[in-house]
Every structure is written in C-alpha cells, then in structure tokens.
Amino acid sequence: MSAEREQMLQSIRSSLSRTRATLMALAGDAVAPLAPGPGSAAEMIERFASEWTRLSGTCSRCPDEAAATAALVDLLRARSVTRLLGWRPEQIGLAGLEDALRAAGIELHDAVARGRPDERVAAVRAFEAYPASVSGVDVAVATTGTLMLRSGHGRGRLASLLAPLHIAVVRASDVVWTLEAAYEHQRRRHGDELFAEASNLIFISGPSRTGDIEMVLTVGVHGPGEVHCIIVED
C-alpha cells in the first residue's frame, strides 16, 4: 500500500466528512427510467436495420447461414478482395465459411499482433494493407444501431478497426432493444465475470466519423469508413 495512495484517500475522506451529506441531498433519488419497449422481435430487427442505415452503415438480411455466407463472399468478390482480416471462423459462427472463402480464393487471416514491440509493429504493418475485415457480433442494440463485440481468443480488436471496410455478422436472435438489455444479455451469457477472459468490449455505432473541420461530417477518419452488417435469421 503506497504512501501516495493513503495520502489521496485520506484527503478524499477528510473532504467527504464535510460534504458527504450535502452531496447526498443534492443527488436526490431518481431511478433509471424505462424506455418504451419493442412490439415484437421483427420490429426489433427492423429498428436495428433502420438505425444502422441512418448512421450510414449498410446492411443485408439473410434467411439462413448459407445465404449469409454467400452474401459475404459476393460482397468480397465484388470488390476483388483476396485477403481478409478477421476473427477466427469458429468465432464468427457461419457454417461452411472457411470452405466458401477458400473456393472463392479469399484468404482469411487471424489478426495476431502480440509480443515484443518490434513483433507487434511488424504484424500490424502487414495487416494494414488488408482491404477488408470480418467479425461476428455478440449482441446488437436496436434503438441506437449499436454492435457490441467482445475480445477474446480468436476475436481480435483489429478485425473491427484496421481495414477500411468492416463486415459484421449478426444473428437476429442477438438483437435486443436497449443498451441496458444488451448488457443484461452479455451478463446472462457470461456471468458476472464478463471481463475475466475479455479485456475489451467495444460498442460500434456506424462508421468512423469526424466533424472537427467546420463541423462537416466526414467518414473513415481513423476506423473503417464502411461498415456492413449481415443479419442472419436463426
């Protein structure tokens, strides 16, 4: 226990001994309001798609995994993508994805960039040239058009950050109404130790954007300028 830590805590405690009651009175006791809920599962998907599109994301909807895999391959072929950065296929969770990519002549590379500083730099530099990336999605939020991606084994963060095009595969059953519901969804799936194996949870709402020059909206400043969602019915 460091001296600095004790000194700072002591200073906070001594201040609070004077103002804690005042602050509690100022705090009041407002509870979190409930957002109006969805009518149906279909309405949820509709809303997600419309919010995502409004954020200038694009979206395709597929009746099953085979159709989703085909849609992904078509999209990549249309852009002549031959190297793809991404999560490991089993983490994306589309049956037959590896075979379909191989048949189309597209290599899927797991974005591994760990270890010594020089090794990391070399790895990220190599991945920097990839034109597109693909990942799964843990849960999506309808009302805000948000994707949540949890890092972990075979689930790199760079797969949704580095390439100019990010394709995200969402299962329709993983679309929920609100941010609160999304977190609850994750807590149910992974328990209270949500972060034991995952150092990163990212909420993505549309393409990377900025308005820093004269408030003119410009996309793709650091992250992907194009984000495409493939929604798979299940």
Partner: protein, 495 residues
Amino acid sequence: MQTLPPLRERVTIALEDARLGELLERGTVRYANARRASIDALPHGEALRDRARTIRLTALANLDRYIEQLAGNVERRGGTVYWASDAAAANRYVVDLARRRQVRSVVKSKSMLSEEIHLNAALAAAGVEAVETDLGEYIVQLAGETPAHIVAPAIHKTKEQVADLFAERLGIPRTDSIPELTAAARRVLRERFLSAGMGVSGVNFAVAETGTIVTVTNEGNGRFCTTTPPIHVALMGIERVVPTMDDLLVLLQVLARSATGQQISVYTNLVTGPARPGEPDGPEELHLVLVDNGRSRVLGSEYAEALACIRCGACLNACPVYRAIGGHAYGGVYSGPIGAVLTPLLQPDLPEASILPELSSLCGACQEACPVRIDLPALLLRLRRDAVAGARPAPHVDAAVPQVPAPQAARRADTRLGKGVEQVALHLWALGMRSPRLYRWGARAARLSGRLLARDGRLTRLPPPLSAWARRRDFPAPAALSFGEQWRRAREEQP
C-alpha cells in the same frame, strides 16, 4: 502560457474577430439545437438526466469507497494503478514509464486532464514525442494552440486555415477539401498508430464494480491508442468514477446527446485490464493514473457539485458569453461556464483566474443545458463572492481544515475605487426608492444626462467615477420618455 495577454485584451481580440464570431455562432447553435432535439426525441429524456445527476452525485458522495473499489478491480484484472496527488507526480510517473520502456513516440487520444497537467510538455522535455490523434486536437497541436472547446477543439478554425496549416506542417499540396484534409491527417496519424511505443488516453468514465475504463470517440483514435501500442496509459481525474455498469449506460446516453446530439458516440471502448494471454491483440501493460490535482480539495468545499461534470460541452454551446468569445479568451484549459468555475478551482495560479466567473450573464442557460443539472449560476456567484472577499474561506465549512484557496483576488485599481463608489450609489438608490418624487427626479436627471452622453444611441462612456464601470460595458441610451410618462400620455390620448 507565460505570455498570456490580460483577460480584457483576450476578450477584446475575440470580439473583434468577425470570422471567429461566425464560426462560434454556427458551431454552438448547431450543437445546441442537436442536443435539444435528441433529448426531446426520448420520451424519458428528462428522467434520464435526473438519473444521471443522481448517479454522478452519489458517486461523488461515496468517492472514497468507489475509487478504492475501482483501483482494486483494475489491479485484479492485471492493470497497474498509480495514485498521483498532483500534476507533477502524474507527469513524473508517465515520463519515467516511457523512459524505462525506451518509448520515443506516444500516441494520445483526447484528454482534457493531460492538457490540465501539461503532459505533452513534460514528455517533450524528456525527449518523448507525443502526438494528438483526435483530428481537432491534432490541428490544435500543429498550430501550437490549446483546445477552444471541450468536444470540438478546433471549432475556431476555418477549413482554409487548416489547409494552410497542413500544407505548411505536413508538406502536402494545399487543398480546401475537408475530406482530403481528413484523409491527409489519417495517413500521417496511421503511421504513428502503427509505430508508437505507448498510447495515452483520457477516461470518460471508470466503472468501480468491474474495474473498466471507458473512452468515447467518434473517430476511432481512442481504439487505436488502446490497441496497437504495447503500453496503454489511462489518465483519469479521480471524480470520473461511476459505481456500476448500469450507471455507465445511463451516462453514455446523456453524454452523446448533450455533446453532439448523437444517440450514442460511434465508439464506446470498454477496457478492463491489459490483453489476456491468448487474446490476439491489445496492450501488454495497462497503467491507470488516478489524478487528484486539487480535486479532493474541491470535493470538501461548497464547489463539490462542479465535480459531477461529464465534460460534454453543452454549457459552452448554450452560453451567450462563450458564443461571443470562444474558448481561448478564458485562458485556462476549460472554457465556458464550467471553465469559469473549474479554472479558479483547479488552476488558481493562472493570472486573473478569480475574475473568470464574471464572464457570465447568469442567464441560467448553462444549468438548463447541463445533462446533470449542475447549478452553475450559483457556483459562479459564490466564486464572485470569494473573489471579492479575498482569501476568506467559504462560510459553511469548518475553518480549521484546509480549504480551497480562494482564488487570489486579482483586483485592479478601478475595481477597488469602484467599490466605494458602488456603496455611495447604493445608498442613493435606497434613498430614491423610498420617495416617489425623488425617484422621478433622479430618473429624469439620469435620462437627460444619459441622452446627452450617448453616441449613435449607445452609452459607451461615463464621467468619473463611473468611467471605470463603463470602460468594460456599453449600454443603450435611455428613451426620451419613461414608461410612466408614456403610460400617462397614452391614457390622456384615449377618448
């Protein structure tokens, strides 16, 4: 910072800059309208603000408990926590770490706290180059300036100015195209992200129950700073802690809406410890630097409520004074109404910090806009009182314990002279208000002399001893007839 011109001069320069006025008007009005629309779009928007206020003030009231819980959980997840009681300690820690790891290049995502403690200068002095990666911050850094707005640092720049700056500093062909300018910054900064030895980020919120550090960006630079470099250093003011993940979700919704009118920012990045074994990417080390730098002192004062601020910038956009003069006139790191409160409290050594609370019309628009409803007008009034009273401690607190040093009252001669005059004037006023005849006589005299002194319908100059007052203000010339006289005349003319 040493060559900061006096406040009056800064304000005058800003007011005379027509282009600045246009940029400020356009930017702040658009942000303010977007904020209003996005809160109104929610049926429970106002209730969400109430909840946000309860969360922030409850967190402050129990800061001792939550900050310990946060630190414990960050360590449990493999992070290192450093407790920095002041700016010097925080800078020393980061510089030492950079030295020990032989870091030469640092990428930074937006952190107002790092501006407050002047981290970039400390790193530069140690031969470490720190590059700002938020586009607005990058522009401001290239120009050798400080942010003019909490969320839009380059709000004061035209695209032509950015074009000149980039042509000169980046050596690119001059272009006024905003997409091309943005692409140029992307190219330069991408190279930095790939090779930096350390990423430094601010912290929008930190969640005590999980040890999670949250950074919010639209550009994705915050993600890069916390992913590609082997070391992530997160700088956090101790007041940024929130108790639970559910609390965080409420605050994220009001933050984005209040800042830019977005429902949620593009990237909300939740970091809990360094990369785990087996994770394919992410930093090997995570250091959380908890910075006090005057905050615990403020926490024990009657200004504690100011620590509830979530740095959304809504009060800047709403403030008629900020809209007219912009951020640089304030002189400190924080501007607008919240800056006029925080600067005297956190940067009391800044020249004239104690008179910043006068940069307000007390109209209340700031409190109205504040997502956590901080009573900014009341805080500004108390600071004015303290500035007049000199170093006297705030009354309701125990004088035996160390206080927020009342900002040195940097009173000038004219204000001191003004004080005596003010008292005489108030006595005369009281006398006049008690006698209708005296009042009418006094008002007529003031009206007549006012009209004589006015030029083009404005009173810009007054004879001594009122000259000091009028030097900083102008006033419309009084009407020829008082309201009472007009009323009587109108009634006489009625059939």
